[in-house]
Amino acid sequence: EAGVTQFPSHSVIEKGQTVTLRCDPISGHDNLYWYRRVMGKEIKFLLHFVKESKQDESGMPNNRFLAERTGGTYSTLKVQPAELEDSGVYFCASTRQVNTEAFFGQGTRLTVV
C-alpha cells in the first residue's frame, strides 16, 4: 500500500509569489489533514477534509491560503501571495476514519525569501 505522498519536497519562492502544494493520501482514506510546523515548534492544524468537503478550516491563517480536494482524492494547498512568515514544513496526513492512526507524508519544506 502506497503511503501519503507530498509534492514538492522543497520549495523556495520569493515573497509575493504563489506556491501550490499537493498531497496524495492513502487510497480509501476519506480524511485528509493539512498541518504546518514552523521552526521546530508545534504541529499546527490547518484544516481537515472528509472526502471533498472541508469539515474544519479553523486553522487556516488567512485568506492567502486556499485548500481544495476536488473529487475527494488528492488535495492542494495554495499560498498566494506568499509571505515570509509562511515558511515552514507543511505536512499532510490521512486517516481511514476519524481518530484513528494518522499517516503522514514526508512534508513540503517551504521557504519564502
Binding site: 521546530g40 474544519d56 476519524v98 481518530n99 503522514f104
Partner: protein, 110 residues
Amino acid sequence: GQQVMQIPQYQHVQEGEDFTTYCNSSTTLSNIQWYKQRPGGHPVFLIQLVKSGEVKKQKRLTFQFGEAKKNSSLHITATQTTDVGTYFCGVGSGTYKYIFGTGTRLKVLA
C-alpha cells in the same frame, strides 16, 4: 478552544538514562495518540490509548493514559541514540479536528 500542552519542551539525557514526556489536555479526551518525528522526518504513529488508566508497552516504551483521561505520559527506559527525535501527543478536538501537543524534543548524548 482545546489546548494540549507537553512538558518538557526539551530534554537532553545521557544514553542509558530514562526519559518521560507528559501530555496534558484542558478537556477530557476520548483517546490519545503518540507520534515520533525523527530530525528531518515526518511524524510516525506509535500508539493509541483509549481506556481510562490504560497502560501499554512497546519494548522500552511505556504509554499511560490518566484515570481522568485528561493526561498521558510516554516513558522510555534506558534511552538509546535511536530514540532521538520529537515526541508528540495527538488528540481529537471537536467532532473532526485532530490537534497535536507542543512536542518534546529528546536528545540522547552518547
